[in-house]
């Protein structure tokens, strides 16, 4: 059983994040990102399950000089498995998909997910053609991912961070997506209509 605390893992992954752009999927990944520190360079989802990694793809293609992190959970990424294939063939070098994998649907009563029943998301992504995949389960492993996140890469990467199936107290980001969009674009110096 994984023992790593998800908030500690995400805080470690985002330490000294610099100009990193981050999209977080609905539920716990969004709470994790908010708890690690709100930023205009964060875009949080409250719905559209399955979309975080693909918003990351569009953003990475539009901002090729910036590093983009899509922070998601096992439940969301399982819903968007086809999206991993789309990312694999698009080959963005500046996109990392980090799956905070507790093996469960934590928001809805902690039902076991497919990863909790043995499915290996890193192996799936590797088979699809991701340039690099890794699975870590302790803070030292997360620290190595943080270094890799800011380094140059040959193509898209998917990292799985195995965490304990526990829900820490929620840390709620803003739910107004127009506000989140506008502040994100302003951060990049883009016009806000």
């Amino acid at each position: 059983m994984a023992t790593l605390e998800r908030r500690a893992a995400v805080a470690e992954l985002l330490k000294e994040r610099g100009e990193l752009l981050v999209v977080a999927g609905l539920g716990s990944p969004a709470y994790d990102l908010h708890a690690a520190g709100d930023s205009d360079a964060n875009f949080y989802l409250w719905g559209a399950m399955g979309s975080a990694a693909l918003i990351g793809l569009g953003l990475a293609q539009a901002q090729p000089a910036r590093k983009v992190l899509a922070l998601t959970g096992d439940g969301e990424q399982l819903m968007g498995l086809g999206g991993l294939a789309t990312i694999a063939v698009a080959k963005p070098k500046n996109l990392v998909v980090a799956v905070i994998d507790n093996g469960h649907f934590g928001e809805t009563g902690m039902q076991a997910s497919h990863t909790g029943r043995g499915l290996d998301l890193a192996a799936v992504a590797a088979a699809m053609g991701f340039a690099e995949t890794r699975t870590v389960s302790d803070l030292a492993g997360v620290a190595s991912l943080r270094a890799a996140l800011h380094a140059a890469a040959a193509g898209p990467r998917l990292y799985v961070v195995k965490v304990a199936a526990r829900n820490p107290p929620r840390s709620l980001p803003p739910r107004d997506a127009v506000h989140l969009k506008n502040r994100f674009r302003a951060r990049l110096g883009l016009p806000v209509s």
């Binding site: 559209a48 693909l54 918003i55 793809l57 569009g58 999206g83 969009k181 674009r185």
Partner: protein, 149 residues
């Protein structure tokens, strides 16, 4: 530009692939394109999403991202199931395409004639990218031509 291919879009897909200034993404399912368009806009780029009417059904929940976030969205949808259609499986989603989009807050415009389509798409693009609207241009099956077997 992101797409799930349709025969009615084949030439347009070729033209986009031949244009070095356009990034193209082939999708496994249409709703992926809603997310990509939102991400592209967060990063300052415009996007267009190509699909056939059957794919609209796949997009419904993900369209909340575009409507709630008031993200510009331009979809070009080739219609099936409405004109000399031979395949009964295409009929239900073809019949429900406009209603399904309207139900989740996406505006639709129909293109019935070749002479009108450039103007309609230009208008839809302006609504999307200048007025932050979510717009689908439904391209009539009569205009695209019924599928020949």
């Amino acid at each position: 530009m992101a797409y799930v291919p349709d025969a009615g879009h084949a030439r347009l897909i070729e033209l986009f692939h031949a244009d070095a200034s356009v990034t193209t993404n082939v999708l496994t399912t249409e709703e992926e394109g809603i997310a990509i368009a939102a991400g592209a806009w967060l990063g300052g780029q415009r996007s267009v999403l190509l699909m056939q009417s059957s794919g609209v059904g796949n997009c419904i929940n993900t369209l909340s991202l575009a409507t709630v976030g008031r993200f510009p969205l331009l979809m070009l949808v080739t219609m099936r199931g409405e004109w000399a259609e031979f395949n009964p499986w295409q009929v239900p989603m073809g019949a429900g395409t406009a209603a399904a989009l309207a139900a989740v807050g996406v505006r639709t415009m129909r293109a019935e004639a070749a002479d009108d389509i450039a103007q309609i798409v230009a208008s839809a693009a302006a609504l999307a990218y200048e007025a932050d609207q979510q717009v689908a241009v439904l391209i009539a099956q009569r205009l695209v031509g019924a599928k020949k077997w």
